[in-house]
Symmetry: C2
Subunit: 264 residues, 2 copies
Amino acid sequence: MAGTDSSKDFETRPSPAVILCEPQLGENIGTAARAMANFGLWDLRLVRPRDGWPNEKAVNAASRADHVIDRVRVFETLEGAIADLTMVYATTARPRDLQKPVFGPEKAGRNLVGHIKGGGGAGLLFGRERWGLLNEEVALADAIVTLPVEAAFASLNIAQAVLILAYEWRRQTELGTQLPFADVLADVAPREELTGLFGHLEDALERSGFFTSPEKRPTVVNNLRTLLTRGQFSSQEVRTLRGVISSLDRKHQRPNPNRNKFDE
Amino acid sequence: MAGTDSSKDFETRPSPAVILCEPQLGENIGTAARAMANFGLWDLRLVRPRDGWPNEKAVNAASRADHVIDRVRVFETLEGAIADLTMVYATTARPRDLQKPVFGPEKAGRNLVGHIKGGGGAGLLFGRERWGLLNEEVALADAIVTLPVEAAFASLNIAQAVLILAYEWRRQTELGTQLPFADVLADVAPREELTGLFGHLEDALERSGFFTSPEKRPTVVNNLRTLLTRGQFSSQEVRTLRGVISSLDRKHQRPNPNRNKFDE
């Protein structure tokens, strides 16, 4: 979905840091940065990226998430990368034999939002492309986060896992209900206009011979009025429909030059 | 995150169809299929894919989401692709001048779950890589769905948009709380074991000369007991800590051959 409004400045609000442990491919660093940017995260930390830093492939894959890429910090150790944080969650798709709580993204998001609101620093750890986080890395975290994926198809790449957790974080902040645009629904037309439409249609149908059975007429009219009410038409839409009726009504009265005897 | 359990068969539960309108790159069809598979969606429909179908690049990018790829159906028209559906939502990142309700993913997910639970067929429309859906395509939908993205960085690729909506759908079904694995937290040790730990530690500290001020001793002891209670240690962890205390305690008593006069 396109739609970036680059005229709007990015704001570095308090939000979770994303820590990638020994990422191998620059592309994955870039797509993770992009996923962060989508939902307002900006603090990306790399522990020993295989191909060093800066990394041109990461920049390209980030699709202009420059405000994230430009702020990337590189660390020699995970301990260093999380030194300033007071809440650290490790993401993993595999169970670990560690005495850690395991949360889904919803609970994790709720905890992160609460912690950050209280002024704390929080971070999410993500592991290597091939084998994720080491147990000694998970051991440094307060809890494990895993996603409610389909057991038969649980493999997510790093950017997808970052995207879901960044989304959950944002969903649970006050930004989560702020959509980039809203309905442009016009007001529903006043009832007077709707009853005008009913009268117009029923007159036209009367002339066209639509009501074949006088005793069924009230029921048919009620059904028509019901279906025409359900759409909550605007004044403009009522006018459009009245134009449709007028047009069909005139067509009905106009002799059709193509009409042949079989139509009579 | 790795972790796919390919021994588990995929189940085609009732779930929203994903309809891609004129997708250009096979890679994007594949990554969309993969995102669907992560959260249990399987009904992928393509309207006039630029490079035809089947598409080898799509298969490769799908990372073994074969159960989705194998079920792909191709349609000549969007009308044909949504013919059997009774609820259709169009995803877009741009406002449209159409009288349609605009929902975020949460509301959209709630509506989809309700509709599908009631036996209805539902689908999500996604547009072209470059310019999304045409207004005439959006016009065929019941409502517009857009994501609560950062205004300054709103650009999502198709697979990311599919991933978020598939996640929201699953989150709001009963599957949303089913994580692939759970805590393996052992039971908290009975208090008797904890008080044993307190006694052991306090005796050792007594011998090591930790309590320098007799009048402050009760406060220091209370603080130690408080911090040792907060971790909700298991029996195994209490035993580990007692081993730690014994080890340090013995070390204290053992004459240190490296100790020099300045340490006395």
